[in-house]
C-alpha cells in the first residue's frame, strides 16, 4: 500500500470520474497535473499537495450543483463557459453535476423545475448552490422564474445546500441592478442567507479560473477557501490591481497617459488619469489575467472599472481619476459662494451699524475723564 493509499485510489476504476472525461477529451495527465499544480500554487500549498489535489479531483464523485440565475446578464456564465478549445475550467464544470442552469440545461419549463427539485431532494445537505444576479426585494414581480419570486426560490433552495457561492458582483454585492437609484430594491445574496456559508466571487464577470479554483478547493478539501471581511477568497482577492499591475512603475514615476491612444498610452504608461480604479479594486486580473492569461483591461489600454468592488457603478465616472470628484461640484459651490456673499453682506451691514453706533456713543474725552471718579 502506498502512502495515503493514493495510488490505489487513483487506479480504482470509476465510470463517473474526471479521469475518463480527461482521456476522452485528449487532455494528457501531464496537463492535468499542471492544472493541479497551478491550483496548489494559488492556494500557497506545498508541492506535495499536488498529488492530493489530483487524487481528490479525479476520484471525487460528481458533486451536485444547482445554479440559480436572478437579476443577471448571463455574463458570468459566458465568462465561465467561453471556450473555443476544451479547457480545464470547462472540464471542472463537467466534473460537477450541473443539475440546474437556465442557459446550459437542455430541459425547460416544468421539466427543468422538476429536475431542480429532484436534485435538492436527492442531494439534501450536500449540493452546492451557485447564484448569479441580484435578488429584488422591491416588487417580487420584478424577477420571477416559473412564477416563483427570486427571493422565495433562493430561500427555498438554500435550505438544503452545503454552501452558497455568489458568483459575479451582482450576486456578491448587488451589482448593476443595485446601482443608484436601485429601482428594484436589489440586494446581494449574503444579505439574505445567514445560516449557510456564503462565498462571494465578485467581478463583472469574475475571472474563469477564480470560480473553478473555488470549486476545486471545495471538491478537494470539502471546505471553502479562506475568506476576507467581504466574503471573498483572499487567495484571489487579497491584493489590489494597483499592487500587481505591470504599469505600476509608470505610476510611481509619474508617467501617465493623458488620453486614449495618445503617446503615453501607446508607450504603456499608467492609466490613472483615464479613470483606472486599480488602487481600490481587489481581484486577480493583474496576475491571472483573462482568456488563459492573454490580457486584462489595463494591458489592453483601458483603465480598471473596479468591477469586483461593491457599488462600482456609483464610484463616479469610469473615466475620471480616483482623485477627481465623483459627483458634480460646480453648482453646489456656486450656491455656497452666493450664500457666503449673502451672509457676508449681512454681517458687514451689522458690523458697520455697530461701529456707527459706537461712534455715535462716543463722548469726547476730556482730561478729567482720564481718571475714574469714585
Amino acid at each position: 500500500m502506498s502512502p495515503l493509499g493514493l495510488e490505489e485510489k487513483m487506479n480504482r476504476p470509476a465510470d463517473n470520474t474526471l479521469r475518463i472525461a480527461l482521456s476522452d477529451a485528449g487532455i494528457s495527465r501531464r496537463d492535468f497535473l499542471g492544472f493541479c499544480a497551478t491550483l496548489a500554487a494559488a492556494y500557497a500549498l506545498p508541492a506535495s499537495s499536488v498529488i492530493v489535489i489530483a487524487a481528490a479531483l479525479e476520484n471525487a464523485s460528481r458533486t451536485s450543483v444547482i445554479w440559480l440565475s436572478f437579476q443577471e446578464c448571463t455574463g458570468c456564465t459566458e465568462s465561465l463557459t467561453r471556450s473555443h478549445t476544451p479547457t480545464i475550467e470547462g472540464l471542472i464544470l463537467e466534473q460537477v453535476s450541473l443539475d440546474y442552469h437556465h442557459t446550459l440545461q437542455a430541459a425547460s419549463g416544468e421539466a427543468a423545475e422538476r429536475a431542480r427539485e429532484e436534485s435538492m431532494r436527492a442531494n439534501a445537505g450536500k449540493y452546492l448552490l451557485v447564484v448569479d444576479g441580484s435578488v429584488p426585494l422591491g416588487n417580487p414581480g420584478y424577477s420571477t422564474i416559473a412564477g416563483v419570486s427570486n427571493f422565495d426560490m433562493l430561500m427555498e433552495t438554500a435550505k438544503g445546500a452545503a454552501a452558497v457561492i455568489a458568483v459575479g458582483t451582482c450576486a456578491a454585492y448587488g451589482g448593476l441592478p443595485a446601482a443608484q437609484p436601485n429601482p428594484t430594491g436589489a440586494v446581494p445574496v449574503s444579505q439574505l442567507i445567514k445560516d449557510k456559508p456564503v462565498i462571494n466571487v465578485p467581478g463583472c464577470p469574475p475571472i474563469p479560473v477564480v470560480i473553478t479554483g473555488v470549486l476545486a478547493h471545495f471538491l478537494t478539501f470539502g471546505t471553502l477557501p479562506e475568506l476576507d471581511g467581504r466574503g471573498r477568497p483572499t487567495i484571489f482577492y487579497g491584493e489590489s490591481i494597483h499592487d500587481r499591475c505591470y504599469r505600476r512603475p509608470s505610476y510611481d514615476q509619474g508617467k501617465f497617459a493623458e488620453s486614449f491612444d495618445d503617446e503615453g498610452a501607446r508607450k504603456g504608461w499608467c492609466l490613472f488619469k483615464l479613470g483606472c480604479k486599480g488602487p481600490v479594486t481587489h481581484n486577480a486580473c493583474a496576475t491571472t489575467k483573462w482568456n488563459n492569461g492573454v490580457s486584462f483591461p489595463i494591458q489592453s489600454g483601458h483603465g480598471c472599472l473596479g468591477c469586483a468592488e461593491p457599488d462600482f457603478w456609483d464610484m463616479g465616472s469610469f473615466y475620471k481619476a480616483l482623485s477627481m470628484p465623483a459627483t458634480p461640484v460646480r453648482k453646489a459651490v456656486a450656491g455656497a459662494a452666493a450664500a457666503g456673499v449673502g451672509a457676508g453682506v449681512a454681517v458687514a451691514f451689522a458690523n458697520r451699524a455697530k461701529k456707527a453706533a459706537a461712534k455715535a456713543a462716543h463722548e469726547t474725552v476730556k482730561v478729567e475723564d482720564l481718571t475714574k471718579k469714585p
Binding site: N351, A358, A361, H362, T371
Partner: protein
C-alpha cells in the same frame, strides 16, 4: 464725566477697522513678534509678547465683529472684557511698549501690531487705565501747553539766551515766513542749543522763519496716552497758529512722537489737509544740503554711530537724511548692528519715559541698546530725538557707560560753513 469700562469698550469698537480685523484674523501665534521686541528680549518674560498685549482688543473684535464671535456671545460662550482685565493690561500696553514699530516689521503674516497698540490705548485711556505719569503729562499739556508745564515765559528766557549765545535774532509771531519752528519740552529745558542751531542754519540758508507764542510745543501727549480727542486739541493749536501766521512749512523738532503726531496723524485728527507742509528738521536740513544752501566744513575725527529714533526712521521714513548729513562731517561714521529702519528702540518712546511706573522695566530694556553700542565699540553716539537723548543719558549714567551723546542738528550747526 468719568472714565468707565463702557467708554473703554466703546472706544475699542470705534477703532476696529478692516486692517485690525485682517491682523487679528491672520495671527498664527508664532511668537516672532516677541523676538523683535526689546521688552521681551531683555527680560525673557513672555507676557511682553506684542500680540499678547492686544488680547482684550482682540476679544472685542471677535465678539462684536465676527459672525461666530457674535453667535458665541449670544449663547453665553464668550469671555467678556472686564475692568480688572484692562487694569492688568495697563502695564503691558503702556509700560512695555514704546510703539517703536519693530514688531510690525517682523510679523510674518504682516500684522501692524504698533498700529493696534495705538488704537487700543484709546480704550485703555477712556476706561481710566492709562498710567498716572502720562495722565499728568497730558493734563499739563492741555492746560498749560506743555507736558512738562513749560510756559511761554520759560521759552522767552531761552530765546534771550540763544540769541546771545548764537548771535542771531529769533523772530516770534512773524507772518508769511518760510518755516514755523516748533520745539519739544526737552529741547526747551535740556537742549536749548537746538533752537540756536536751527536759527543759525536757517539764517545762513537765507530762509525766513518764526516761533509762535501760541504753539511752541510739538510734543503730543494725546498721541502717547492714546486719546485722539486730546491729541486733536494739541495738534489743533499748532495748525491754527501755522495757518494764522500763513507759514509755508512747519518744522517738527528733534522729537519722535511730535513728528508722528503732526506729519502722519495730524490731518486725520483734524479731518482735513493742512494749508502748509510738515517736515522734520532733518528733512529740512537735507533739503538745504541738496539745494546747496547748507555747506558744511570740518570733520569729526572720532568714530561715531547713529541711533535711529523709532518715530523718525522706522515709523517716519526719515532715515537716509541723517546719514547723508553725517557723511558730510563724520568720515569715521559706523553703523551699529540692525541699522536704519530695523534699529532698536531706546526704550523710552511712546510715553514710556513719562511713566514712572515703567522706569525699572525701561532700564532693563535699555540693555539692548547698550549691547548694540558695546558691540560696535564706539564712544560717540549721535541721535535726533530729544526724548531719546534724555532716556539714553539717564541709562548711560545708570550703566556707568562712558559714551558721548550728541544731537545731530547741533552737530550740523557746529560745522556750518557760514557765508
Amino acid at each position: 464725566m468719568s472714565a468707565s469700562l463702557q467708554r473703554g469698550v466703546n472706544a475699542f469698537k470705534e477703532v476696529i477697522d478692516a486692517p485690525v480685523a485682517a491682523f487679528f484674523a491672520s495671527c498664527v501665534h508664532c511668537g516672532l513678534c516677541a523676538e523683535s521686541c526689546l521688552f521681551y528680549t531683555e527680560t525673557g518674560d513672555p507676557q511682553y509678547t506684542p500680540i499678547h498685549k492686544l488680547e482684550p482688543l482682540r476679544r472685542v473684535w471677535q465678539q462684536e465683529y465676527t459672525l461666530l464671535g457674535r453667535l458665541a456671545k449670544l449663547v453665553g460662550l464668550a469671555k467678556p472684557v472686564t475692568d480688572a482685565e484692562l487694569a492688568a493690561w495697563s502695564p503691558l500696553v503702556y509700560d512695555s511698549c514704546s510703539m517703536c514699530g519693530r514688531c510690525s516689521m517682523v510679523c510674518p503674516v504682516g500684522n501692524d501690531i504698533t498700529l493696534m497698540i495705538r488704537k487700543m490705548r484709546e480704550g485703555m485711556a477712556a476706561a481710566g487705565h492709562a498710567p498716572e505719569g502720562l495722565v499728568t503729562a497730558t493734563q499739563r499739556s492741555i492746560q498749560s501747553g506743555s507736558p512738562a508745564g513749560v510756559k511761554w515765559v520759560t521759552v522767552q528766557a531761552q530765546i534771550k539766551r540763544m540769541q546771545k549765545q548764537f548771535g542771531i535774532d529769533i523772530p516770534v509771531n512773524l507772518e508769511n515766513a518760510d518755516y514755523l519752528v516748533l520745539m519739544s519740552s526737552w529741547e526747551i529745558l535740556n537742549y536749548p542749543e537746538y533752537l540756536g542751531s536751527v536759527g543759525r542754519i536757517l539764517d545762513n540758508a537765507g530762509a525766513t522763519w518764526t516761533l509762535s507764542e501760541h504753539a511752541y510745543e510739538a510734543t503730543n501727549s494725546g498721541i502717547q496716552i492714546g486719546v485722539s480727542d486730546l491729541a486733536r486739541e494739541l495738534v489743533g493749536r499748532i495748525v491754527k497758529a501755522a495757518e494764522d501766521l500763513k507759514v509755508k512749512c512747519v518744522i517738527s523738532p528733534e522729537c519722535g512722537h511730535a513728528y508722528t503726531a503732526l506729519r502722519w496723524e495730524g490731518p486725520n485728527l483734524m479731518g482735513r489737509r493742512f494749508g502748509f507742509e510738515v517736515k522734520h528738521i532733518l528733512e529740512v536740513l537735507d533739503d538745504l544740503r541738496r539745494s546747496g544752501r547748507l555747506k558744511l566744513k570740518g570733520s569729526i575725527d572720532k568714530p561715531l554711530t547713529y541711533h535711529d529714533p523709532c518715530q523718525i526712521s522706522r515709523r517716519g521714513g526719515v532715515h537716509q537724511q541723517p546719514r547723508a548729513l553725517l557723511r558730510q562731517i563724520a568720515p569715521q561714521f559706523r553703523e551699529m548692528s540692525d541699522p536704519g529702519v530695523m534699529n532698536w528702540c531706546c526704550g523710552g518712546g511712546g510715553g514710556v519715559s513719562a511713566n514712572e511706573r515703567a522706569e525699572p522695566l525701561r532700564t532693563i530694556a535699555f540693555k539692548r541698546k547698550k549691547a548694540q553700542i558695546e558691540k560696535l565699540g564706539v564712544n560717540t553716539v549721535v541721535t535726533s530725538c530729544a526724548n531719546c537723548r534724555v532716556v539714553i543719558e539717564e541709562a548711560l549714567e545708570h550703566y556707568h557707560m562712558n559714551i558721548e551723546l550728541l544731537g545731530l542738528t547741533e552737530l550740523v550747526a557746529e560745522h556750518l560753513a557760514e557765508d
